[in-house]
């Protein structure tokens, strides 16, 4: 018995065939994973199931019955719920209000907040989805926001729950919690569609896997009878190196240094507390830590986006404290930000404007006071070729690229500025295995060209495989510095939860 059948779905966007006769069958009560490269068409397929897009061709069956889903309202009626890749929450409303929005309980003419709170608390308890019902969404962690999204679907009585890359923004602990919840939902008879780029997650949680590539289904596998290598091969069409190996490379002199840096967060609390470190040419310094321990503020301060309360920054020995982002870029700093939609690119701009941002005034792209569009187009074509951005369409709008391809645009732009010092935050968040391999290789290539690199990542694996030195951050302070070959994941894990190196060593 299939809960969901999507048969021969075709969906076209201007210049892109996003779904090319895709057929997906999902058994009732199972966890079905969908994997595929960035831009393979996974989100597009799911958006059609949820009624946000409409298929150009093909049919959809729910529990064996043919349905036409005109909009989310129809999808909800069919018992479908969706947690989007980018959360769909109203920041200024409370958790309870967000959950019931659109299907609010009523008492006379009034909105029945009491009942809303009660129902949310009941669902929260039943499935172990811990949330603070009265907190505003803007004040809660990403992990909790995701639980709110799941409760939203359950509140509407969803039997089929779509989770589009739910783990991309979670810490490893939060991922485990999510999996526990998913198992509970499954044992309750719910059907779950799970999209992820992390193959070990797919192996751990799913019953079956559908693999997509360039808008087509390339394979459907029973999870228990496959392995990550095989899945990766179906995805990319070749063998992929799942972890890169780095050659020895002798670091040179110091290119960037911070001394006693203190930075405050948006609420005015100290987020970075007396942090000092240096980065040498040809060296990758990794900053590990659980999200929200001051990494974001540290990066913003270093790149000139946030005010420095006290302390100093030196670029090639020169004091650059208080420099603007443009001044820092002119010194030779580049920045791949953690939130590509907020700081990385402009959704409404075409690819060709997105890739010249920050360098738009340079003679490379101008003709006197005007932009030279011919040069810009040519440059964009080359960049998209070199960094394998898909679709290869220079007029494609920033917001219409898939998440992974947005990232490649930003990475390409920043690397092409030929920096001396590169700040990279969460460079592979939401990327497919092939793209991760590609970006890791790019970062290592920069290192060989003697660029100093500061890498901030929540992925310990990434930190371990790329860094020459690892700094661990906890509550705004550096807990200690270790070399990847001289430490263990456990030791770094201890430091990430607030133990200083000496304590962690003692055990």
């Amino acid at each position: 018995m299939y809960a969901v059948e999507m048969v021969n779905i075709v969906k076209r966007f201007p210049g892109v065939l996003a779904n090319d006769h895709v057929t997906l069958r999902v058994k009732k009560g199972s966890i079905h994973a969908i994997v595929g490269e960035n831009g393979a068409g996974k989100s597009t397929l799911m958006n059609q199931l949820y009624g946000l897009y409409h298929p150009d061709e093909g049919e959809i069956f729910i529990d064996g019955k043919k349905v036409v889903i005109k909009g989310p309202r129809d999808a909800i009626k069919e018992g479908i719920g969706m947690v989007h890749q980018h959360f769909m929450l109203v920041d200024t409303l409370t958790v309870a209000e967000n959950v019931v929005l659109g299907s609010e309980p009523k008492k006379g003419l009034n909105f029945d907040l009491k009942r809303a709170r009660k129902e949310v608390m009941e669902l929260s308890e039943k499935y172990g989805l811990t949330v603070d019902v009265d907190a505003k969404v803007e004040d809660i962690s990403v992990g909790m926001q995701q639980r709110v999204e799941i409760i939203k679907t359950l509140y509407r009585g969803a039997n089929i729950i779509i989770l589009d890359e739910p783990t991309a923004v979670l810490t490893p602990q939060e991922v485990e919690e999510l999996f526990a919840i998913m198992r509970k939902l499954k044992s309750d008879g719910k059907t779950i569609l799970f999209i992820s780029h992390k193959l070990h997650e797919v192996m751990e949680i799913s019953d079956r896997v559908t693999v997509m590539r360039l808008g087509k289904v390339t394979g459907e596998l029973e999870t228990s009878q496959t392995n990550p290598k095989e899945i990766a091969r179906y995805m990319v069409g070749r063998d992929v190196v799942l972890t890169v190996t780095k050659e020895f490379h002798e670091p040179k002199d110091t290119v960037f240094e911070v001394k006693n840096l203190v930075v405050k967060d948006n609420r005015g609390l100290v987020a970075v507390n007396d942090v000092s470190f240096e980065v040498k040419r040809g060296e990758i310094v990794g900053i590990a830590g659980v999200a929200g321990n001051g990494q974001t503020e540290l990066v913003e301060a270093i790149t000139g986006l946030r005010k420095i309360e006290s302390g100093h920054m030196y670029f090639e020995g020169k004091d650059v404290t208080g420099f603007t982002p443009r001044q820092l870029r002119e010194q030779g700093m580049a920045h791949i930000p953690e939130d590509r939609l907020k700081h990385g690119l402009i959704k409404e701009f075409e690819a060709y404007y997105n890739v010249i941002l920050g360098g738009h005034y340079k003679t490379l792209f101008t003709n006197g006071p005007f932009l030279n569009h011919n040069k810009i187009f040519e440059y964009t074509k080359q960049l998209m070729e070199e960094f394998d951005v898909r679709p290869r369409r220079i007029e494609h709008l920033g917001g219409n690229f898939s998440g992974g391809n947005q990232q490649k645009l930003v990475v390409g732009r920043e690397i092409n500025t030929n920096p001396k010092f590169l700040v990279v935050a969460q460079p592979t968040r939401g990327l497919d295995v092939g793209a991760i391999e590609f970006i890791h290789k790019q970062i290592l290539k920069m290192r060989e060209r003697d660029v100093g690199i500061l890498l901030i990542s929540m992925e310990l694996e990434e930190i371990f495989s790329l860094s020459d030195r690892i700094l661990v951050m906890y509550e705004g302070e550096i807990m200690g510095e270790v070399r990847p070959e001289e430490t263990t994941v456990e030791e770094v894990g201890m430091m990430m939860t607030g133990h200083r190196l000496e304590e962690a060593r003692r055990g």
């Binding site: 946000l52 989310p72 929450l89 109203v90 929005l101 659109g102 299907s103 009034n110 909105f111």
Partner: protein, 319 residues
Amino acid sequence: MRIVEAIFLVFINPLFYKIALTAATPLIFASLGGVYSEITGVVNIALEGIMLLGAFTSVVFTWLTGNVWIGVLMAVVSGVALAWLHAWGSIKWAGNQVVLGTALILIAQGITGFLMEPIFGKPGQTDFVGKVEEIKIPGIAEIPFIGKVIGEISPFVYMAFAAVAFSWWLIYKTNLGLRMRSVGENPEAADTLGINVYGIRYFGVLMSGVWAGLAGAYLSVGEVGLFKELMSGGRGFIALAAMILGKYNPVGALLASLLFGASTAFANQMQSSSLIHVSDTVKPLFDMIPFILTIIVVAGFVGKSRPPKADGVPYEKGA
């Protein structure tokens, strides 16, 4: 020291408070209009034009029918009509809301100016056509001081306070209000929950026509009983400032409107103070006080008062 004494005398004079209330009344209505529109995500600077048209329509229909309340009703109808144009252009066609609003102000000024001759036979100003009577509330009128302030006052003042209470309830206590706020903050999220984003935005904008229309009716048949060209005199913009200062909340907008009303009353009373001599050439400077206050408020508070995140951003659905 005469200045200090003059200021002191203004503040102990009940007339100051009465003028403050009546000057605040159109601002309360109009800023409420702003709140309805902007919390659903549509910037509405057309308030100024809607007020002007409302003021004109109410005079025309009062003159035609002899009944001021029919005049008031028609002011609301004309306000909704103009607001509908704004909604249609900015929601259906995703037009630039500031440009549209500006165009609507010019249209309102054009229509009212043009129709003066054919309807009333002369430009500039109409004759007195009738006025909504002040109401006297027995019991209150006899109380010292307070009786002099609100004992005998236009019913519009009471209506304004009632409108604020109603709006606060609607926006913060009902399902519709919750949806309005969600649509102004994150229309995409609302859409994924099956909420009709366009419908809610239409409602918000049309309601702004209701309130701004009433504000206009008050200016003409509510206060003076006649229409003068351009008589809204920038109050639509002050109302927007009140809305911002009031953090897009009906009660906040009320308090901010009262502040602006008080500044108008203050300017008015100082000019006629017998203690300080204000020459006629200087008098217009006093009339600028509310506008100067507006600049201070907008410059000083805009950063702190956070507009709805999707305010002014047209919503366009996916394919």
